[in-house]
Structure formats: structure tokens, C-alpha cells
Amino acid sequence: MKKFVAILLAAMMLLSVSALAENVVKIGVYEPASGDSGAGGKQETLGVQYANLETPTVVIGGEEYKVELVYADNGSSTDKAPSAAQELVSAGVSVVLGSYGSGVSIAGSEYFKNANIPAIGLTCTNPQVTAGNSHYFRVCFLDPFQGTALANYASKALGAKTAYCLGELGNDYDQGLINYFKEAFEGLGGTVIVDAFPTNNADFTSYLTNAEMYGAEVLFCPVSIAYSTLIIQQAASMNLAFPVLGGDTLDSNVVVAAAVGTNIDLTVTTFYQEGANPTFDEGFKAWLNSDATALANNGGNDMISAVSVMGYDGYYMALAALQAAGTTDSAAVMAVLPSMEIDGASGHIVFDENGDAVRNSAFVKKANTATGDWEFVTEQTVE
């Protein structure tokens, strides 16, 4: 018996160091496919897949390489993230894309760092993801910006004086965004009440009652898709008088579907507005409609989610870096990434000294509860 175990162990060791096939470059897709953010993670992955379909090969150092996407599901939770990150590291990826959700990105960060693999954050907006390190980059905007934009919108466009913020306990995305919203909103002379619910909570009626009791004029809930659908439905059944505000996570066809047929006033800020890049929109929609699995992963319809666009841009950023590095060596890719620039579907992307994309505008969208579409409201900029 022990001999068998020994042989098995030896075989596994050999397998683990198996050499890479020739002329294949691996890009890790570090995204949640299950859990609270699973729906969002899948949409983000779709963007990467579409880009990969469009450009399946890349020329590195004069040779053509096939791009292989390696997926690892971080389960939307910080305790599953290390395994997923380690899986990508041991698969020998040259660069990592992801993740949806800041908490899992931070939780996986150390593993990428130790293996000298650069990571390109797609929609993780918490500043802590890239702060103080040289291996994490990101193509989206940041929470201090997004929080300020939302606070401005709440205060100026909605005329609210009191805001009730509701986030999940221990979720870095929620807590971070609420924190920056609070700072900005209080700076504008408003009052902010912050509340938090435990993970796996399903009953939000008491929290919504809290909001009413405090006399809130706006409800700010930048939570995962799973929670936001619950909140919206329960808010709708309580006929809440005040509007609901959300961050980029709420910009999803799943969320707007929950609001259809209700009288909820739902507004979100996001990275991309459908129509901003017609070529991308057309191609992406055509692909979704031709591929049943992709359509199902997109929530059953062909509405373009902003996170898909970020996934698309992230992929091209990774290809650009691989080309510039001229090798598949991850350390070399990391070295060239800070100076990369691309023209993505979401606009021109260039990194600042922290490795964050320089972005100064966010799209404000409002849910049309009759048709189930997102309607463009304004483009919020901060100097």
C-alpha cells in the first residue's frame, strides 16, 4: 500500500513539472464562476473569450504563439481565492487577468507576486489592489473616483441630504466604495448612515426599514449581483420612496431584470455605455447570439455588460505586453506593463505610477423598469 502511494506521489511530481507545449502562451483568467459574484465573473470572462476568439494568436519575438486561456474559479470568496491563484501559478501562465471583485484580487495578489507573475485587474476598483505593489495593474477606474462621482450624483442630481449605505460585512469592494462615498457625500454637507449585513443574509426587509426610519433620501448599496437582486426586489415590494444607487456591480442585465415591472428608481455608475463603440457592440452581440453557452453565461440575453468590455480590453492589454516583452517570461511581461498603452473598446488606456488606468469619467445609467434596459443619463467626470 505504501509503495503505491510513493509511486503515485512520484508520478504526480513528474506531472507537475511537465514542460510547456511549444509556441503556446498561457493567460490566466482569474474570475469567479460560482458564488455571489459568479454571474458577473462569467460576463467578464465572456469579454476575454470574445477577444481571444477575435485574436487567437500573438507574435512574440518574431514567432507566432497560440494564446491559451487557463481558467481558475475563485468562487467569489477570499478563502477559495488562494487555491485558484495557486492553480494559475502552477499552470505556468505568463500574465493573469482578473478579477471581478476586489477582495479576491487582494487575496490572490501575494501568490502572483511570489511567482513574479503580473496581474491585470479588470473591474476590481478598490485602490488597495494595486497600492504598494508593482505586479498588479488595472484597466478600470478606482473607487475614490467612483465614490465621489456617485456622491455628487446623489447630492446634486437627486438632491439628497441623508444617505443610507448598505454593504456586505467583510467585502472589500462594498466597504471601500461606501467609505469613499461617505467621505465625498459628507464633504458635500450630507449625512451618511452605514450599515452592513452578514454574508449569506437573505432578509433585507429590516435593513430597508432601517433606511426608512433614518429618513434616508437615497439608498446606496454597492453589493454583489446576488444581494442586489434581493435588495431590489424587497425594496420594490416595500414601495420605497427613495431612489437606489449602485456601483459598477449593479450594471448587469440580471439586476435590471429584477427591477422590471417595479417602480424602483435605480441608478448606477459604470465603465461603458452600449453604443460607445459600435464595432465592438455588433461583433460581441453577434457572437453571443451564435453561441448558446455564451448567451447563457451572459444571463440569457445579448445586453452588453460593461464588465465584458473590460475583459476584452484587458486581454488586448495582455497581448500588447507580451508582444512588447518579446518573450513569454512573466517577469519580462511585468517589466514592460507599466509603459503599455492601448486603444481599447472602452477608450484609451494608459497606466499611472500605481499601475492604475488613467480614467476620469464614469457613465451614469438608469434602469428603465418598463423595458428592462439601461438608459444613459450622463457622463460624470471629476477633474
Binding site: 460560482s34 454571474a39 452605514v194 432578509d203 429590516s206 426599514t209 432601517n210 416595500m238
Partner: protein
């Protein structure tokens, strides 16, 4: 003050009724097998998933609901036969570990089937609508739940007190071995217990998920634990005790969620303290207090009909 507390009370009664339906399953099984059926909360969750998939298949609702209840009862029956019956003579710890294993299995099966994503629960016309009660807004299901719970409890108590199978249940819970010697078919009594418990969990799941309409593999864990606490609180083995315990826990939990507001409004605190963090923990604190002070629960074992 009343106006501040009332909405929380209403939410609490609603969720309490749903906990009650789960708690009955716990208390009945414990009464007979002396087993904490950790998988019971997951049976409740599986009932939700079955509902999601059945209604997605396009069957009419009047057919789907009875089917969900029957399937749930069947799942309870199968779990008992597969996972608990072979261990009848094993130490209690083994059976409890088996229960934990079943819970783990059910969650992982659902994770596999759903892909780990939240599933939207279908709306059920009639109980999903919004109504006004004494100035507070709520769903119709909030009003239906306590009534339905009480009706089902009365039916169940009648069944236990008046029918032959009920008498057998009482006998088995009093003395397992002697009743076996007296010719009671232990296995069918235990199966009946599991079927009834799971059926009620199925009813509870329909009410619960109509209120909070997403289901994921972990949806059953917390309600399950809370229902168990309710069963202990009311005196394990006692059905009225479990129901009362469930309502108390449901109400207290929602009061804790709103405690900041209540204290704030009555001028006791100047800023919110974030006490809602303790809405789940409070249930367990209550459990530990009752275990230490009065381990038999609110209703002592002797005074009530035990199942």
C-alpha cells in the same frame, strides 16, 4: 416607539413562521432518534432548488407546488434510509457525522447542478403581492405564513394525538427499545417522521423563498441552524415549543437588525453602533443561555406531547 418597532416585529413574525416549519422537523427527529439532523436545513434548500427547476420546465404552478412537496418528502425518506438506518446501532456521534456528511453532499450536489450561481425563485401569484398592515408595508406571504404555520401545527398535533401512527411516534420517543418489543414497526415510524418533517420543510421553503427569492447551495445552512436553535429553545421534542421558539427567534433577530434605529430614535445612542452585525450571533447566544440555565427548553420534556 410602537411605530418604530412594529415593522421589525412584522418581519420577525414572517420569518419566525418559516423557521417554525423547519424547526418541527428537527424537533420530531430529535424526539425519536436523539439525532440532530444537520441535513434538515439543506433539505429545505433542496426543496427551493426543485421548485426553481420544476417551474422553469414550464409546468403549471398548481402542479408544481404539490410535486415539490412530494419530492421533498421523498428526499427526507431516502436520506433516512440511506444515511441513518444503517447506523441505527452505531454510537450517536457516528450518526451525527453521517448527518454532517449528508449536509455536505446535498450542498455539493446543488453546487454542481446550479453551477454555484444564485437561482431566482419563481413568484407565486397571490402571496407575492404587497399589502399594508397597520401602516407598515409587507408582502402577503408575511400574513399567510403565521396562519398557515398554525393550521399545520394543529393538524400535526391532532395527527400525533389521535391517530395510530401518532401513538406509535409517541411511544417510540418515550422508549425506543420497549416500543420495538411491543411490536411497533420502528422503521416505518421513523420514516413517517422524516416524511412529515421534510414535507413541512418543503412548505417552509415555498414561503421563505417567496419572501427572499434567490436560492444558492448555502441558503439552507443558516435558517437550518436557527430552526434548530428554536427547537432547543422551545424544548426539544415539543412541537408547540418549537413553534413558539421559532417565532421568538425570528422576532428577536429582526429587532437586533433594527436595534440601532430603535435606540437611536429613543435617544439612547447618538450614532449607530453597527449592532446588526450580531443578528445571527444573537440566536446562538440565546441558545447557549438556554442550554445552561434550562437545558429542557421553555417547555419541559414532561408536560408536552413529545414526538
Amino acid at each position: 416607539m410602537w411605530n418604530t418597532v412594529f415593522p421589525y416585529l412584522l418581519s420577525g413574525i414572517s420569518v419566525g413562521g418559516q423557521y417554525a416549519l423547519i424547526a418541527i422537523g428537527y424537533t420530531m427527529v430529535y424526539g425519536i432518534l436523539r439525532l440532530i439532523n444537520f441535513a434538515h436545513g439543506d433539505v429545505f434548500m433542496v426543496a427551493g432548488i426543485v421548485m426553481v427547476y420544476l417551474s422553469a420546465s414550464g409546468l403549471p404552478l398548481w402542479l408544481v407546488i404539490p410535486m415539490v412537496l412530494i419530492i421533498t418528502a421523498l428526499i427526507g425518506f431516502v436520506i433516512e434510509r440511506v444515511a441513518y438506518k444503517p447506523l441505527r446501532s452505531a454510537p450517536r456521534m457516528s450518526v451525527m457525522i453521517s448527518a454532517i456528511g449528508v449536509s455536505y453532499t446535498l450542498q455539493n450536489l446543488v453546487l454542481y447542478v446550479t453551477g454555484g450561481l444564485n437561482k431566482m425563485y419563481p413568484t407565486i401569484p397571490g402571496i407575492s403581492e404587497t399589502v399594508m398592515v397597520m401602516g407598515a408595508k409587507t408582502k402577503m406571504v408575511t400574513l399567510v405564513t403565521p396562519v398557515l404555520t398554525l393550521v399545520l401545527v394543529v393538524l400535526l398535533v391532532t395527527l400525533i394525538n389521535k391517530t395510530k401512527i401518532g401513538m406509535a411516534m409517541r411511544a417510540v420517543s418515550k422508549d425506543f427499545e420497549t416500543s420495538q418489543l411491543m411490536g411497533i414497526k420502528i422503521n416505518s415510524v421513523i420514516s413517517a417522521t422524516f416524511v412529515i418533517g421534510s414535507f413541512l420543510a418543503g412548505v417552509g421553503s415555498i414561503l421563505y423563498f417567496t419572501n427572499y427569492p434567490t436560492v444558492i447551495q448555502t441558503s439552507g445552512a443558516m435558517p437550518g441552524l436557527k430552526a434548530f436553535v428554536a427547537a432547543v429553545f422551545g424544548g426539544i421534542g415539543s412541537i408547540p415549543g418549537a413553534v413558539l421558539g421559532a417565532f421568538i427567534i425570528g422576532i428577536m433577530e429582526n429587532i437586533i437588525k433594527g436595534l440601532d434605529v430603535i435606540l437611536f430614535k429613543s435617544g439612547l445612542i447618538s450614532a449607530p453602533l453597527g449592532l446588526s452585525t450580531f443578528s445571527d450571533a444573537f440566536t446562538f447566544a440565546l441558545l447557549i443561555i438556554i442550554l445552561i440555565v434550562k437545558p429542557t427548553g421553555l417547555f419541559g420534556e414532561k408536560t408536552t406531547d413529545k414526538v
